[in-house]
């Protein structure tokens, strides 16, 4: 963005993507995370986009979070949003089994197909745990799925705020742990250092910002 200026306002810019069936609460999760509120939202048309600045350890991070529409009709366009994403959050609704099964039938495949980033971190999120009585997808099933696809896993509720913060936090920490993703997300100034020696990148950045 403003990498031209000598002192960028952030150390890393990460692009995250929310995907999953329509109505599982992607936009609500995002709203809860970015402005800590909860309201009934109109279904997303196509795509929505939010930015949040967070600080982790001593690193200032700019998170650009893309919220996509779950409707099938928009899926052809969605493909472009996968590009360059360092993290993808797959959301399902614990009270609707079809939203869970669609993750493996549809969404996981989309990631494989469109993600340009082989190391991109995937995260599985079961939303709406506040409706415990209506739950049909057990936590164990979620864990099994996550293990199979190599994702992080968390259950949360955008409505009650449970685990929402943690969900994004864990994803970002994992990205910070992955040198190749870190290299991509680093702001303009440090680009060259990372390009040369990816393993040393983490050290270089720690020393420079602390």
């Amino acid at each position: 963005m403003d990498s031209a200026s000598s002192q960028p306002e952030f150390d890393y810019l990460f692009k995250l993507l929310l995907i999953g069936d329509s109505g599982v609460g992607k936009s609500s999760l995002l709203l809860r995370f970015t402005s800590d509120s909860f309201e009934d939202l109109s279904p997303t048309i196509g795509v929505d986009f939010k930015v949040k600045m967070v600080t982790m350890g001593c690193k200032r991070l700019k998170l650009a979070i893309w919220d996509t529409a779950g409707q099938e009709r928009f899926r052809t366009l969605t493909s472009s949003y996968y590009r360059g994403a360092q993290g993808v959050i797959m959301v399902y609704d614990v009270t609707r089994r079809d939203t869970f099964t669609n993750l493996s039938d549809v969404w996981a495949k989309e990631i494989d197909l469109y993600s340009t980033n082989q190391d991109c971190i995937k995260m599985l999120v079961g939303n709406k745990v506040d409706k415990e009585s209506e739950r049909v997808v057990t936590k164990k099933e979620g864990i099994d799925f996550a293990r199979q696809y190599g994702c992080l896993f968390l259950e949360c509720s955008a409505k009650t705020r449970v685990n929402v913060e943690q969900c994004f936090e864990e994803l970002v920490l994992k990205i910070l742990d992955t040198p190749s993703l870190l290299a991509e997300g680093s702001s303009g100034l440090k680009k060259n250092i990372f390009k040369q020696k990816p393993p040393a990148a983490a050290d270089a950045s720690t020393s420079s910002c602390c």
């Binding site: 009934d40 196509g46 928009f74």
Partner: protein, 943 residues
């Protein structure tokens, strides 16, 4: 003495000789010489092999584990060099036919030995008194130290490889050695086993023993070499290649007589590689056996090679395979290196035209580095690109996931082929590339203007964003051309349309979208009528009538004609009228290339964070869908649209099994469908409902197109025509690396896991090294070019390995185990080069790992020796026997030995024979070809 030795070990023994021999005044120079030798030998003896190695003994690569130390001595005004050869880590006793033995070891059956030779040009002692004097000096010195090392002196002229030698065995026996060689005109007698046997027997039978009293034991090793695979070709290979490039069209007229070995390899389309395997050497080793007469020996010449105890095989590798010097290897790697050079130069100019125009950038056509091939060549290349085999096979499946990680064009695609052609266009300099590109774009524009389909481009609507931008743009253009064609067709002809859409399956959906508008509307009414019987099945006329009765009047009331329906949606009924829901034809979402997507995302980012800022494009699409839906279902309400478009937002109050069991159910039961919109859809101010209210009922065909093919097509051409040189070259480099690897990856080499792994590693390396090129950022040019050059070297190593493996595979196809074993050996041999990607290292070691051939594989290996044709056998004079499929061995080695019981009788007592031991008294090593014979004899005696 012991103490002095101990000290000598520490300080090179400078003062040792003074302690051991304190009186030199009366010693002759010869005695001093002996004492010098003795001192050196004591030192070596004391150190032992391990310390000597630590002190920097020279390792002789060729015979494995053999080391050498040397010391220079003076005697009689001449300089001599005393060398001690020793083995380290020698396990057990030397077997007879160990690989890679030193000539002396092999000849005389010794392990460690001393050689004393004058430091002269020839390195041999020409004078025979001198040689025996030298040898005695060493022998005396050695016996003084109590060492049993054999010592040798080279004699005669060097080409004879003649030695004399002596060894004390620690008993009363002494071994004497003698070797010589006949370099030409070998007597016929000595070319045959019989004669050689007699030669050996004559060494001892004449004096001491009666002929029949002994049994000669012998072992034999025969080495065969396959006839060259590409006999005369290798000499003219380079010339042929050059010719082929220049005048292929002319050449095509003739049938080339010779077929290159790699004609059916995937790279053969682009270049012909020298066969890395020049041939094989097969070594057959015969078990030790005894022989009592020369007749027996003569018969052995006719024995089948299959009777040999052991077969081992190794390939003869072309020296070019390990030669790194520039220009030695022509392949993808060499051309990629040129392309990287072109990339480096591409930064020099802003426009591609600058490289072409004569007055610019030192474009002196006499400089071979910047020569542009003549127009005829250029035209041929363009013709191949645009007119030969125009359609692309869907090769996406062929590409490995690793390959897709490289941002390039798919192998068969137009741009990929352009890159490959460029690699071989002239010498791939930037001017040549610029010329070709400008013509290429001109050709592309012609296709656009004339509405000709772009060759080698896929026709589907999914632009692969992981490919390079130029490929995406060309793909978009191909789509635009198609859409443009359909628009034209629509305007001019309306009759052929149905025919066309049915025979092009891939286009079916697309065609209908664009074409099936007005003419279709008439038939839509029929379809509408015929719908019901189709889906109703056997329910009978009553229902049909009922439905029509209810539906038709309704339909006519609000909107007379249903437009743009693609058929009914299952059994879904509209909410407010007793009609089936029709799915509309919708407009395709606009096709976009990567940069267009990026622009959109960027715009969204700039527009910022404001809540519910959804893309305008998506709104347009939604609105278009709504309009189409309204047109297809004139009586539909917003809820109906949601039920079709976003079923998740319709909360049905009917039982779950409705959707599964509805085939049999009469429709009336389902009407009106009960349910409600989800909370979020029904909220006040819902943006979806707003859009619904604003969308007119219009079938897709009458809507303003979401995508304007004319405009987009022109934009693509603008992009291609104004592409900056380094942007072009960057994408070419990526694509060229990718498709070169893809091409090589198609090579068949059996199931060699190691090679597969290496190829995958290559892809991964390529992907990560080329990544800096994909980001549209400015990068450090010098660093980048350096990285790319190193990448070329990595590529070359893999390419060479692959060519090797391909050659090996086709020669030993039926012996996969052997293939794999040889390849693994070769890989390990080649490995030191791979690690060193920055500079070529000196690599003079010859590949000579031998692999044992199992019994089952012998047939395959024997087939490497095709029986000679009549012509060949006429040419060759066969003189040695021991033929394998009619091929004479290139080398026959025989070791004869005879053992004799020796007892104390020689001391004069009469102890019975049983208490005696058997020692090898005579040993003869013979190494012969049809015009070369080397004989080494060692005799143990008790004089």
């Amino acid at each position: 003495m012991a103490s002095s030795i101990a000290r000598g070990g520490e300080d090179e023994g400078e003062d040792e000789e003074f302690e051991g021999f304190d009186d030199f005044t009366i010693a002759s120079s010869w005695e001093r010489f002996i004492s010098e030798i003795e001192a050196v030998c004591r030192l070596w003896l004391f150190d032992g092999p391990k310390n000597l190695v630590d002190k920097g003994a020279e390792c002789l690569d060729h015979p494995k584990n053999l080391y050498k130390v040397k010391s220079e001595l003076k005697y009689g005004g001449k300089d001599y060099c005393l060398e001690f050869y020793f083995m380290i880590n020698k396990d057990g006793q030397a077997t007879e036919w160990v690989d890679n033995l030193h000539n002396i070891q092999q000849s005389f059956g010794v392990n460690e030995f001393l050689v004393i030779a004058p430091l002269s040009a020839s390195g041999v002692v020409l004078d025979s008194p001198e040689s025996s004097k030298l040898l005695s000096a060493v022998a005396i010195a050695l016996s003084n130290c109590g060492s049993n090392w054999p010592a040798f002196v080279p004699v005669h002229d060097p080409s004879r490889k003649a030695y004399i030698g002596i060894q004390s065995t620690g008993t009363i026996f002494t071994r004497r050695f003698d070797a010589d060689r006949i370099g030409s005109q070998v007597p016929v007698r000595l070319m045959h086993m019989e004669g050689l046997y007699e030669l050996f027997v004559a060494k001892f039978a004449s004096f001491d023993y009666p002929m029949n009293y002994f049994k000669v034991s012998f072992g034999m090793k025969l080495t065969y070499r396959t006839p060259p695979f590409d006999d005369d070709e290798e000499d003219v290979l380079e010339n042929v290649e050059a010719e082929v490039k220049e005048s292929e069209e002319v050449n095509d007229g003739y049938d080339r007589i010779k077929v290159q070995w790699d004609d059916d390899c995937p790279w053969a389309e682009w270049y012909s590689a020298e066969d890395p395997i020049k041939g094989f050497e097969l070594i057959t080793i015969w078990p030790r056996n005894t022989c009592e007469s020369s007749m027996e020996m003569a018969e052995l010449e006719n024995a089948s090679s299959f009777d040999a105890e052991k077969w081992s095989l190794y390939p003869l590798i072309s020296p070019n395979m390990i030669d790194d010097s520039d220009g030695k290897f022509i392949g993808f790697a060499s051309q990629l290196r040129l392309l990287v050079g072109a990339l480096e130069r591409s930064f020099d100019a802003k426009f591609l035209e600058d490289f072409v125009s004569a007055e610019n950038i030192g474009s002196d056509n006499s400089n071979p580095a910047v020569v542009i091939p003549p127009p005829t060549v250029r035209d041929r290349v363009l013709k191949e690109l645009f007119h030969d085999g125009a359609q692309i096979s869907s090769s996406l499946d062929l590409e490995s996931k690793n390959s897709r990680a490289i941002k390039g064009a798919p192998l068969e695609s137009l741009f990929a082929q352009f890159c490959l052609q460029s690699l071989w266009f002239g010498n791939c300099n930037v001017r040549a590339i610029a010329t070709l590109w400008i013509e290429f774009v001109r050709e592309v524009r012609w296709c656009w203007e004339e509405s000709q389909p772009l060759p080698r481009m896929p026709s589907d609507l999914d632009i692969d964003l992981s490919s390079c931008l130029i490929h995406q743009k060309l793909h978009l253009l191909a789509i635009c051309i198609k859409k443009k064609n359909l628009l034209n067709h629509e305007n001019h002809t309306s009759v052929e349309i149905t025919g066309q859409s049915s025979d092009d399956k891939g286009l079916a959906e697309f065609d209908r979208n664009e074409i099936l508008d007005l003419p279709q509307n008439e038939s839509m009414v029929d379809e509408f009528d015929s719908d019901s019987p189709d889906s109703e099945g056997t329910t009978g006329n009553l229902t049909v009538d009922a439905e029509c009765a209810v539906a038709s009047p309704d339909a006519h009331k609000s909107c007379p004609i249903r437009k743009g329906s693609s058929g009914i949606v299952g059994n879904m009924m509209l909410l407010h009228s007793f009609q089936k829901m029709h799915a509309p034809y919708t407009q395709d979402a606009p096709v976009m290339t990567e940069d267009m997507h990026e622009e959109r995302l960027h715009a969204a980012e700039v527009c910022g964070d404001a809540f519910s800022t959804s893309g305008q494009l998506e709104r347009d699409i939604l609105s278009s869908d709504m309009s189409a839906f309204k047109a297809a279902n004139p009586d539909a309400v917003f809820e109906d649209f949601i039920r079709w478009h976003s079923p998740g937002d319709w909360e049905s109050e009917e039982i779950e099994d409705r959707s599964t069991g509805n085939k049999e159910d009469p429709d009336q039961c389902n009407w009106p469908p009960r349910g409600k919109l989800s909370q979020r859809m029904s909220e006040h101010g819902n943006s979806w409902r707003k859009i619904w209210n604003d969308s007119p009922a219009l079938p897709a065909s009458e809507q303003k197109p979401l995508f304007d093919p004319i405009r987009e097509g022109e934009k693509v051409l603008h992009y291609l025509e104004t592409l900056q040189p380094h942007h072009l070259l960057e994408q070419m480099v990526c694509s060229a690396f990718k498709v070169s690897a893809d091409t090589l990856n198609q090579t068949s080499f059996g199931n060699l896991q190691l090679m597969k792994t290496k190829l995958n590693q290559l892809y991964i390396t390529l992907a990560s090294s080329l990544r800096p090129l994909r980001a549209n950022r400015t990068h450090d040019k010098y660093e980048l070019i350096g990285d790319l050059r190193r990448l070329c070297l990595v590529f070359e190593n893999i390419e060479k390995l692959l060519i090797f493996v391909s050659s090996l595979h086709r020669k030993l196809r039926d012996a996969p185990r052997l293939t794999e074993a040889i390849f693994n050996d070769y890989f390990n041999y080649y490995l030191p080069k791979m690690g060193n990607s920055s500079a070529s290292i000196c690599f003079d070691k010859k590949f000579s790992n031998k692999q044992q051939v199992s019994m089952l594989e012998r047939d395959v290996v024997a087939n490497l020796f095709p029986p000679p044709t009549a012509n060949q056998s006429w040419r060759k004079v066969l003189s040695m026997g021991n033929l394998l499929n009619g091929h004479e061995p290139i080398l026959r080695e025989i070791i004869f030995s005879v053992a004799h019981r020796v007892g104390d009788c020689h001391y004069g007592s009469n102890i019975p024979w049983t208490h005696t031991e058997e020692i090898e008294t005579h040993r003869m090593y013979i190494r012969g070809t049809s015009n070369d014979l080397q004989v080494a004899l060692s005799v143990t005696s008790w004089d």
